[in-house]
Symmetry: C2
Subunit: 182 residues, 2 copies
Protein backbone atom coordinates (compact mmCIF):
# COMPACT_ATOMS: atom_id res chain seq x y z
CA UNK A 1 0.00 0.00 0.00
CA UNK A 2 1.17 3.51 -0.79
CA UNK A 3 2.30 5.57 2.19
CA UNK A 4 -0.15 8.45 2.46
CA UNK A 5 0.46 9.95 5.91
CA UNK A 6 1.03 13.68 6.33
CA UNK A 7 3.26 14.70 9.23
CA UNK A 8 2.70 17.85 11.28
CA UNK A 9 5.69 20.21 11.31
CA UNK A 10 4.02 23.11 13.09
CA UNK A 11 0.55 24.24 14.14
CA UNK A 12 -1.05 27.54 15.06
CA UNK A 13 -4.54 28.60 16.08
CA UNK A 14 -5.48 31.27 13.56
CA UNK A 15 -9.02 31.81 14.73
CA UNK A 16 -10.65 31.11 18.09
CA UNK A 17 -14.43 30.98 18.00
CA UNK A 18 -17.06 30.28 20.62
CA UNK A 19 -17.09 26.52 20.17
CA UNK A 20 -14.61 25.78 17.41
CA UNK A 21 -11.24 27.06 16.34
CA UNK A 22 -9.38 27.14 13.06
CA UNK A 23 -5.81 25.81 12.90
CA UNK A 24 -3.19 26.26 10.23
CA UNK A 25 -0.56 23.54 10.22
CA UNK A 26 2.53 23.14 8.09
CA UNK A 27 2.75 19.46 7.11
CA UNK A 28 5.17 17.22 5.30
CA UNK A 29 3.53 15.34 2.41
CA UNK A 30 4.25 11.72 1.39
CA UNK A 31 6.61 13.02 -1.33
CA UNK A 32 8.69 15.00 1.18
CA UNK A 33 7.36 18.41 0.13
CA UNK A 34 5.57 20.69 2.56
CA UNK A 35 2.18 22.38 2.40
CA UNK A 36 -0.24 24.07 4.78
CA UNK A 37 -3.52 22.58 5.97
CA UNK A 38 -6.28 24.73 7.44
CA UNK A 39 -8.72 22.77 9.55
CA UNK A 40 -11.48 23.16 12.09
CA UNK A 41 -10.94 21.78 15.57
CA UNK A 42 -14.35 20.51 16.71
CA UNK A 43 -15.20 19.07 20.16
CA UNK A 44 -17.09 16.07 18.73
CA UNK A 45 -20.78 15.32 18.92
CA UNK A 46 -23.45 12.67 19.38
CA UNK A 47 -26.57 11.77 17.46
CA UNK A 48 -29.43 9.90 19.10
CA UNK A 49 -32.05 7.53 17.65
CA UNK A 50 -34.87 7.85 20.20
CA UNK A 51 -37.54 5.14 20.10
CA UNK A 52 -40.52 6.85 21.73
CA UNK A 53 -42.85 4.90 24.07
CA UNK A 54 -45.36 4.49 21.21
CA UNK A 55 -42.68 3.03 18.92
CA UNK A 56 -42.26 6.10 16.73
CA UNK A 57 -38.88 7.70 16.13
CA UNK A 58 -38.25 11.02 17.84
CA UNK A 59 -37.25 13.15 14.88
CA UNK A 60 -37.11 16.92 15.33
CA UNK A 61 -37.66 19.93 13.11
CA UNK A 62 -35.09 22.65 13.61
CA UNK A 63 -33.97 25.83 11.88
CA UNK A 64 -30.25 25.70 11.09
CA UNK A 65 -28.80 29.12 10.68
CA UNK A 66 -25.56 28.04 8.97
CA UNK A 67 -27.48 26.15 6.30
CA UNK A 68 -30.29 28.76 6.16
CA UNK A 69 -33.25 26.46 6.40
CA UNK A 70 -35.40 24.10 8.41
CA UNK A 71 -34.21 20.51 8.66
CA UNK A 72 -35.71 17.25 9.83
CA UNK A 73 -33.12 15.70 12.08
CA UNK A 74 -32.38 13.29 14.84
CA UNK A 75 -31.59 14.92 18.19
CA UNK A 76 -27.87 15.66 18.42
CA UNK A 77 -25.40 17.91 20.11
CA UNK A 78 -21.80 18.80 20.74
CA UNK A 79 -19.78 17.35 23.61
CA UNK A 80 -19.21 19.71 26.51
CA UNK A 81 -15.61 20.06 27.60
CA UNK A 82 -14.45 16.73 29.07
CA UNK A 83 -17.84 15.09 28.52
CA UNK A 84 -18.05 11.46 27.36
CA UNK A 85 -20.30 10.70 24.35
CA UNK A 86 -22.66 8.47 26.38
CA UNK A 87 -23.26 11.21 28.96
CA UNK A 88 -23.72 13.73 26.17
CA UNK A 89 -26.32 11.50 24.50
CA UNK A 90 -28.32 11.26 27.74
CA UNK A 91 -28.05 15.01 28.30
CA UNK A 92 -29.08 15.99 24.76
CA UNK A 93 -32.00 13.57 24.76
CA UNK A 94 -33.37 15.29 27.85
CA UNK A 95 -32.52 18.83 26.74
CA UNK A 96 -33.89 18.55 23.24
CA UNK A 97 -36.94 16.34 23.51
CA UNK A 98 -37.48 15.76 27.24
CA UNK A 99 -36.87 12.03 27.60
CA UNK A 100 -34.72 9.84 29.83
CA UNK A 101 -33.48 6.61 28.26
CA UNK A 102 -33.52 3.34 30.20
CA UNK A 103 -31.10 1.95 27.61
CA UNK A 104 -28.55 3.73 25.41
CA UNK A 105 -26.69 1.54 22.90
CA UNK A 106 -23.68 2.70 20.90
CA UNK A 107 -24.15 1.93 17.20
CA UNK A 108 -21.42 3.67 15.20
CA UNK A 109 -18.90 6.44 14.86
CA UNK A 110 -19.10 8.64 11.80
CA UNK A 111 -16.98 11.48 10.38
CA UNK A 112 -19.16 14.26 8.90
CA UNK A 113 -16.57 16.59 7.38
CA UNK A 114 -13.13 14.97 6.99
CA UNK A 115 -12.19 17.46 4.27
CA UNK A 116 -11.89 20.29 6.77
CA UNK A 117 -12.80 19.25 10.34
CA UNK A 118 -11.87 16.61 12.92
CA UNK A 119 -15.44 16.16 14.12
CA UNK A 120 -16.34 12.62 15.19
CA UNK A 121 -19.98 11.83 15.84
CA UNK A 122 -21.10 8.86 17.96
CA UNK A 123 -24.50 7.39 17.13
CA UNK A 124 -26.64 5.96 19.95
CA UNK A 125 -29.91 4.04 19.97
CA UNK A 126 -32.10 5.27 22.87
CA UNK A 127 -34.73 2.83 24.16
CA UNK A 128 -37.05 2.43 27.15
CA UNK A 129 -37.76 6.15 27.17
CA UNK A 130 -39.52 7.91 30.01
CA UNK A 131 -40.94 11.43 29.74
CA UNK A 132 -39.20 14.07 31.79
CA UNK A 133 -38.95 17.84 31.53
CA UNK A 134 -36.97 19.30 28.66
CA UNK A 135 -34.67 22.27 28.80
CA UNK A 136 -33.31 23.34 25.44
CA UNK A 137 -30.50 25.89 25.29
CA UNK A 138 -31.79 29.46 25.48
CA UNK A 139 -31.09 30.00 21.77
CA UNK A 140 -32.37 26.61 20.58
CA UNK A 141 -35.87 26.18 19.16
CA UNK A 142 -37.16 22.90 17.87
CA UNK A 143 -40.28 20.79 17.47
CA UNK A 144 -40.64 17.06 18.08
CA UNK A 145 -41.90 15.09 15.06
CA UNK A 146 -42.75 11.52 16.13
CA UNK A 147 -42.40 9.53 12.90
CA UNK A 148 -42.90 5.88 11.90
CA UNK A 149 -39.62 4.31 10.76
CA UNK A 150 -40.93 3.50 7.30
CA UNK A 151 -41.94 7.14 6.78
CA UNK A 152 -38.48 8.27 7.87
CA UNK A 153 -36.88 5.85 5.40
CA UNK A 154 -39.13 7.22 2.64
CA UNK A 155 -38.05 10.76 3.56
CA UNK A 156 -34.42 9.71 3.12
CA UNK A 157 -34.96 8.35 -0.38
CA UNK A 158 -37.26 11.15 -1.56
CA UNK A 159 -34.85 13.86 -0.41
CA UNK A 160 -36.90 15.35 2.46
CA UNK A 161 -34.17 14.36 4.92
CA UNK A 162 -30.81 15.70 3.69
CA UNK A 163 -28.91 15.94 6.97
CA UNK A 164 -26.21 13.26 6.85
CA UNK A 165 -26.34 12.14 10.51
CA UNK A 166 -30.11 11.68 10.21
CA UNK A 167 -29.90 9.77 6.91
CA UNK A 168 -27.32 7.41 8.41
CA UNK A 169 -29.18 7.00 11.71
CA UNK A 170 -32.48 6.21 10.00
CA UNK A 171 -30.89 3.68 7.61
CA UNK A 172 -28.99 2.08 10.49
CA UNK A 173 -32.19 1.66 12.49
CA UNK A 174 -33.96 0.27 9.44
CA UNK A 175 -31.25 -2.37 9.08
CA UNK A 176 -31.50 -3.28 12.79
CA UNK A 177 -35.25 -3.74 12.41
CA UNK A 178 -34.82 -5.85 9.24
CA UNK A 179 -32.33 -8.08 11.07
CA UNK A 180 -34.68 -8.35 14.03
CA UNK A 181 -37.53 -9.51 11.79
CA UNK A 182 -35.43 -12.20 10.12
CA UNK B 1 -46.24 24.37 12.96
CA UNK B 2 -44.06 26.42 15.27
CA UNK B 3 -42.22 29.30 13.60
CA UNK B 4 -38.52 28.49 13.90
CA UNK B 5 -36.79 30.86 11.49
CA UNK B 6 -33.86 32.99 12.64
CA UNK B 7 -33.44 36.34 10.90
CA UNK B 8 -30.07 37.89 10.10
CA UNK B 9 -29.56 41.34 11.63
CA UNK B 10 -25.89 41.75 10.71
CA UNK B 11 -23.00 39.66 9.41
CA UNK B 12 -19.23 39.98 9.46
CA UNK B 13 -16.38 37.85 8.18
CA UNK B 14 -14.25 37.19 11.23
CA UNK B 15 -11.76 34.86 9.57
CA UNK B 16 -10.80 34.47 5.92
CA UNK B 17 -9.05 31.21 5.12
CA UNK B 18 -7.76 29.69 1.91
CA UNK B 19 -11.02 28.03 0.89
CA UNK B 20 -13.47 28.77 3.66
CA UNK B 21 -14.30 31.71 5.86
CA UNK B 22 -15.89 32.10 9.26
CA UNK B 23 -18.80 34.49 9.71
CA UNK B 24 -20.33 35.88 12.86
CA UNK B 25 -23.91 37.01 12.45
CA UNK B 26 -26.27 38.65 14.89
CA UNK B 27 -29.67 37.03 14.47
CA UNK B 28 -33.17 37.48 15.81
CA UNK B 29 -34.58 34.29 17.34
CA UNK B 30 -38.20 33.10 17.06
CA UNK B 31 -38.90 34.55 20.53
CA UNK B 32 -37.69 38.03 19.48
CA UNK B 33 -34.41 37.86 21.40
CA UNK B 34 -31.07 38.18 19.65
CA UNK B 35 -28.00 35.95 19.68
CA UNK B 36 -24.84 35.46 17.64
CA UNK B 37 -24.21 32.57 15.24
CA UNK B 38 -20.72 31.64 14.12
CA UNK B 39 -20.67 29.60 10.93
CA UNK B 40 -18.41 28.38 8.17
CA UNK B 41 -19.05 29.59 4.64
CA UNK B 42 -18.18 26.65 2.37
CA UNK B 43 -18.20 26.65 -1.45
CA UNK B 44 -20.10 23.34 -1.71
CA UNK B 45 -18.86 20.02 -2.99
CA UNK B 46 -19.64 16.90 -4.99
CA UNK B 47 -19.28 13.21 -4.30
CA UNK B 48 -19.08 10.68 -7.10
CA UNK B 49 -20.08 7.00 -7.28
CA UNK B 50 -17.84 5.72 -10.09
CA UNK B 51 -18.82 2.38 -11.60
CA UNK B 52 -15.54 1.16 -13.11
CA UNK B 53 -15.50 -0.70 -16.46
CA UNK B 54 -15.25 -4.04 -14.60
CA UNK B 55 -18.32 -3.20 -12.49
CA UNK B 56 -16.43 -2.48 -9.27
CA UNK B 57 -16.92 0.79 -7.37
CA UNK B 58 -14.04 3.25 -7.54
CA UNK B 59 -13.43 3.83 -3.84
CA UNK B 60 -10.23 5.59 -2.82
CA UNK B 61 -7.93 5.50 0.18
CA UNK B 62 -6.80 8.92 1.33
CA UNK B 63 -5.09 10.48 4.32
CA UNK B 64 -7.21 13.24 5.79
CA UNK B 65 -5.15 15.67 7.78
CA UNK B 66 -8.04 17.33 9.64
CA UNK B 67 -9.29 13.97 10.90
CA UNK B 68 -5.74 12.61 11.37
CA UNK B 69 -6.15 9.29 9.64
CA UNK B 70 -6.62 7.30 6.47
CA UNK B 71 -10.16 6.98 5.18
CA UNK B 72 -11.88 4.86 2.58
CA UNK B 73 -13.95 7.26 0.54
CA UNK B 74 -15.72 7.97 -2.68
CA UNK B 75 -14.01 10.53 -4.91
CA UNK B 76 -15.16 14.03 -3.99
CA UNK B 77 -14.11 17.61 -4.12
CA UNK B 78 -15.01 21.22 -3.55
CA UNK B 79 -16.58 23.41 -6.22
CA UNK B 80 -14.22 25.90 -7.83
CA UNK B 81 -15.47 29.47 -7.86
CA UNK B 82 -18.51 29.68 -10.18
CA UNK B 83 -18.33 25.98 -11.04
CA UNK B 84 -21.53 23.94 -11.42
CA UNK B 85 -21.75 20.63 -9.49
CA UNK B 86 -22.00 18.52 -12.68
CA UNK B 87 -18.81 20.06 -14.11
CA UNK B 88 -17.10 19.63 -10.76
CA UNK B 89 -18.05 15.94 -10.68
CA UNK B 90 -16.53 15.40 -14.13
CA UNK B 91 -13.39 17.31 -13.17
CA UNK B 92 -12.87 15.51 -9.85
CA UNK B 93 -13.45 12.10 -11.43
CA UNK B 94 -10.63 12.79 -13.87
CA UNK B 95 -8.33 14.48 -11.36
CA UNK B 96 -8.68 11.92 -8.61
CA UNK B 97 -8.95 8.57 -10.36
CA UNK B 98 -8.33 9.29 -14.06
CA UNK B 99 -11.68 8.46 -15.63
CA UNK B 100 -14.07 10.23 -17.97
CA UNK B 101 -17.77 9.41 -17.49
CA UNK B 102 -20.05 8.80 -20.47
CA UNK B 103 -22.99 9.34 -18.11
CA UNK B 104 -23.27 11.35 -14.90
CA UNK B 105 -26.59 11.10 -13.03
CA UNK B 106 -27.56 13.34 -10.13
CA UNK B 107 -28.79 11.26 -7.19
CA UNK B 108 -29.13 13.49 -4.14
CA UNK B 109 -28.13 16.57 -2.22
CA UNK B 110 -26.89 16.14 1.31
CA UNK B 111 -25.87 18.50 4.11
CA UNK B 112 -22.79 17.23 5.99
CA UNK B 113 -22.46 19.76 8.82
CA UNK B 114 -25.61 21.85 9.34
CA UNK B 115 -24.59 22.61 12.91
CA UNK B 116 -21.81 24.93 11.79
CA UNK B 117 -21.45 25.07 7.99
CA UNK B 118 -23.53 25.77 4.89
CA UNK B 119 -21.86 23.05 2.84
CA UNK B 120 -24.16 21.29 0.37
CA UNK B 121 -22.87 18.17 -1.33
CA UNK B 122 -24.31 16.84 -4.61
CA UNK B 123 -24.06 13.09 -5.18
CA UNK B 124 -23.56 11.79 -8.73
CA UNK B 125 -23.54 8.30 -10.19
CA UNK B 126 -20.79 8.01 -12.83
CA UNK B 127 -21.24 5.33 -15.50
CA UNK B 128 -19.76 4.35 -18.87
CA UNK B 129 -16.27 5.21 -17.62
CA UNK B 130 -13.28 5.50 -19.93
CA UNK B 131 -9.70 5.59 -18.68
CA UNK B 132 -7.88 8.88 -19.16
CA UNK B 133 -4.89 10.48 -17.46
CA UNK B 134 -5.30 11.64 -13.89
CA UNK B 135 -3.90 14.78 -12.40
CA UNK B 136 -4.46 15.10 -8.67
CA UNK B 137 -3.75 18.41 -6.95
CA UNK B 138 -0.07 18.81 -6.07
CA UNK B 139 -0.80 18.23 -2.38
CA UNK B 140 -3.27 15.38 -2.88
CA UNK B 141 -2.22 11.73 -2.53
CA UNK B 142 -4.62 8.87 -2.88
CA UNK B 143 -4.94 5.28 -4.00
CA UNK B 144 -7.75 3.72 -6.03
CA UNK B 145 -9.45 0.76 -4.34
CA UNK B 146 -11.80 -0.95 -6.82
CA UNK B 147 -14.35 -2.66 -4.58
CA UNK B 148 -17.40 -4.89 -5.15
CA UNK B 149 -20.59 -3.17 -3.98
CA UNK B 150 -21.41 -5.90 -1.46
CA UNK B 151 -17.96 -5.50 0.15
CA UNK B 152 -18.48 -1.73 0.35
CA UNK B 153 -21.86 -2.28 2.04
CA UNK B 154 -20.22 -4.66 4.52
CA UNK B 155 -17.58 -2.00 5.26
CA UNK B 156 -20.36 0.47 6.07
CA UNK B 157 -22.03 -1.83 8.59
CA UNK B 158 -18.80 -3.10 10.18
CA UNK B 159 -17.46 0.42 10.71
CA UNK B 160 -14.55 0.35 8.22
CA UNK B 161 -16.18 3.18 6.25
CA UNK B 162 -16.99 6.06 8.61
CA UNK B 163 -17.00 8.98 6.17
CA UNK B 164 -20.60 10.15 5.88
CA UNK B 165 -20.66 10.95 2.15
CA UNK B 166 -19.25 7.50 1.40
CA UNK B 167 -21.69 5.69 3.70
CA UNK B 168 -24.61 7.47 2.05
CA UNK B 169 -23.29 6.99 -1.49
CA UNK B 170 -22.72 3.27 -0.99
CA UNK B 171 -26.15 2.71 0.58
CA UNK B 172 -27.79 4.75 -2.19
CA UNK B 173 -26.12 2.64 -4.87
CA UNK B 174 -27.10 -0.53 -3.03
CA UNK B 175 -30.73 0.57 -3.09
CA UNK B 176 -30.53 1.39 -6.82
CA UNK B 177 -29.15 -2.09 -7.49
CA UNK B 178 -31.84 -3.74 -5.35
CA UNK B 179 -34.54 -1.84 -7.27
CA UNK B 180 -32.92 -2.83 -10.56
CA UNK B 181 -33.01 -6.52 -9.60
CA UNK B 182 -36.70 -6.40 -8.66
Amino acid sequence: MTELIETKLSSEIIFQGRFLDVRRDVVELPNGKTTTREWINHPGAVVILPILPDGLIGLIRQYRYAAQGEFIELPAGKLDSGEKPLACAARELKEEIGYKAGKLTFLAQIHPAIGFANEVMSVYLAENLEKTDCNPDADEFLELLPTPLEDAVTMVWNGKITDVKTIIGVLWLNRLCQQHRQ
